[in-house]
């Protein structure tokens, strides 16, 4: 029998029992929608975090002082990272393109009668390229200004608007902890990142922050940018060795700095996110399975109801294969239509979630293909038993069925 004829017949018999067909498809619809929506949410969240991490570059090393303490009891960090260490790294370690010493603390920042408490971060101009910041108006302060302890500041866009409203801050003077700083530039917005808002900060030369604002001799961290494609592990080992030597750590004692790099972050995060996505997908997959059982149930009812029809078809020459394929296609049509409907619903849900939640959602083609193939598979798998039963019916008994 021609394929499209079978499809037409299958479609007609589904239409003849609309409500029942829809109820039977509901499981598949919800299952497919769940798989697509959940994978979209999972993928979107993962992608967002990965983008943030890799926007900062994958050739970066972050050097922090080790946590202080004994036997696992952490009591603050050691105050051992100096700007001389930073200079030594730049001079002695191979393949280091640039680095930015970082020191920070929260201070009151004032302009006229406007007042805000915000993070004031001391660093060098390299910090902007390492951390992927751009200047919106004005300029970044220069290395010359860093060396001369010039009291200049670059404002995050949110801090700028908090203090200045709509007027241009560049060239104005703000007071940080009571000390005058000249605003030379405003950063471009990066958007709130959840755990901290990079738009709300003030960047000043680290020399000024250390010696004038804080009166300390240690750094919070050193951000090191290696050359593109260079061996980060080698650089990391070299830095450890250099730090041990400079901090005079005896052999056998642990390092007093911690070095992290982006690829470690990404790997660890990706693994977690993938597990999470698999979990979400599995939940959706289980509902697909339940949907398949619903279809099998209805197909068994259909076969019983249409026993006489099967007998008639056999009497006029339908082979077992003809009957089998008819009911199989009917089951597949049901799961296929359910799958497509579910796909629409899933994409719609993903879109809606993307609109109302801070997380973007990403519908990947693979998730659609996966859901549709899986639902068609469910149709074949759960349709097979009822269809086989139909095909094996004895024609005489089927004809006699009332």
């Amino acid at each position: 029998m021609l394929f499209w004829m079978i499809v037409k017949v299958a479609f007609k018999s589904l239409m003849a029992n609309k409500l029942r067909s829809i109820l039977a498809m509901l499981g598949i619809i919800i299952g497919v929608a769940a798989v697509i929506a959940m994978l979209a949410i999972g993928t979107g969240a993962k992608q967002q975090v990965l983008d943030r991490i890799s926007a900062m570059g994958t050739n970066l090393l972050y050097i922090h002082p080790s946590p202080r303490g004994t036997a696992g009891v952490i009591s603050g960090t050691q105050l051992n990272l100096s700007d001389d260490d930073a200079r030594a790294i730049l001079q002695k370690i191979d393949h280091v393109k640039g680095l930015a010493p970082v020191v920070s603390r929260s201070f009151q920042v004032k302009y006229l009668n406007q007042n805000t408490l915000t993070q004031v971060l001391g660093t060098t101009p390299t910090y902007l390229s390492i951390r992927d910041f751009e200047v919106e108006s004005g300029r970044m302060f220069s290395d010359f200004e860093v060396e001369h302890w010039d009291r200049v500041a670059v404002l995050g866009p949110l801090t700028a608007s908090n203090l200045f409203g709509f007027s241009d801050p560049v060239g104005q003077v703000v007071k940080i902890n009571g000390i005058n700083f000249r605003v030379v530039g405003v950063l471009k917005s990066k958007g709130d990142q959840g755990w901290f808002n990079p738009d709300d900060q003030v960047i000043v030369p680290y020399t000024v922050e250390m010696h004038v604002l804080m009166g300390v001799t240690y750094l919070r961290e050193i951000d090191v940018q290696c050359e593109e494609g260079s061996d980060l592990d080698a650089a990391q080992n070299d830095i450890f060795a250099l730090m041990r030597q400079r901090h005079k750590i005896p052999a056998g004692m642990p390092d007093d700095v911690v070095i992290q790099n982006q690829s470690q972050f990404i790997e660890a995060f990706s693994a977690t996110a993938t597990t999470f996505t698999i979990l979400l997908g599995t939940v959706g997959g289980i509902s697909l399975l339940v949907g398949g059982i619903g279809i099998m149930n209805i197909m068994l009812v259909t076969v019983t109801e249409r026993t006489r029809e099967i007998g008639i078809r056999k009497a006029i020459g339908a082979r077992e294969f003809d009957i089998l394929s008819q009911f199989l296609i009917e089951a597949m049509l049901m799961s296929g239509v359910g799958g497509l409907t579910g796909m629409g619903l899933g994409i719609g849900t993903a879109w809606l979630v993307g609109q109302v939640s801070p997380f973007p959602t990403i519908v990947r083609v693979y998730s659609i293909v996966l859901a549709l193939v899986f639902s068609a598979g469910v149709g074949v798998f759960f349709g097979f038993y009822p269809a086989t039963r139909a095909a094996k019916l004895d024609p005489i008994e089927a004809l006699r069925y009332e």
Partner: protein, 241 residues
């Protein structure tokens, strides 16, 4: 041509053996219109199911157009039913939700024929239902439904039409019309086997095979067909002399 020899079919029902067919042999020549008659339970339907390749005999042989089909596989039998046999049932057995035309097309689709619509139209015309081709069975009268069923049976141009109590669900006038249609088809060369318990129906056929308790037997003497045949013989006698 149909030749069945020594067909045996037994059923065991509640520990009791029923000889539905007990060594039955029949021969039906091409172009004949034959009745299988007998009281209820005599094995008519069992015989028809075997002759129609819906069922297989326990022993015995069945030659359809020279081929021994009693040993055919299920699929081969399906193909024989499709191409060589046309069934007409008492309760029409049309598929609901399909138009008359689609019902008639169906055997051709199973045969994989591409001229199905055209051939189905011709068959509907033969039974005089061209103007009802897009009606569904529910929209047709009993007689019209049986005509559609007949069109479906003959659309593949089978070796034999098998009709099991074809007038059983019809009033007598409509029944007569259907029998008249069978006679016309027979006159045009179709081989027809009519299963009936009704002597009046059997009287429309050229000859009858009488079944009793699964065996071929002579019809009882008070039988109207026997009477009419005797009458016909008498009428013929003077001419023959």
């Amino acid at each position: 041509m149909i030749r069945a020899e020594n067909l045996v079919k037994t059923y065991v029902l509640g520990g009791q053996v029923v000889h539905a067919l007990d060594d039955v042999s029949v021969t039906i020549r091409e172009g004949e219109m034959v009745a299988i008659r007998g009281p209820s339970g005599s094995g008519k339907s069992t015989l028809m199911n075997i002759l129609g390749c819906l069922d297989r005999p326990e022993t015995g042989q069945y030659f359809l157009a020279g081929e021994d089909v009693s040993k055919f596989s299920k699929n081969a039998l399906a193909e024989v039913r499709n191409r060589r046999i046309g069934f007409v049932f008492q309760n029409f057995n049309l598929l609901p939700r399909m138009s008359a035309l689609e019902n008639v097309e169906l055997p051709l689709h199973y045969a994989g024929r591409h001229d199905a619509v055209k051939a189905a139209r011709v068959a509907l015309e033969t039974v005089g239902l061209s103007d009802r081709s897009h009606h569904e069975p529910a929209q047709l009268s009993g007689g019209q439904r049986q005509r559609v069923a007949i069109a479906r049976a003959l659309v593949t141009n089978p070796a034999i039409l098998l009709a099991d109590e074809p007038t059983g669900a019809l009033d007598s006038k409509t029944g007569e019309e259907i029998l008249a249609l069978f006679k016309t088809l027979n006159a045009n060369g179709h081989t027809i086997l009519v299963v009936t318990h009704d002597a009046h129906v059997a009287a429309h056929c050229q000859r009858e095979i009488y079944l009793h308790d699964g065996k071929i037997a002579a019809p009882p003497n008070d039988d109207p067909v026997a009477m009419s045949q005797i009458a016909a013989d008498k009428e013929l006698l003077p001419e023959a002399v």
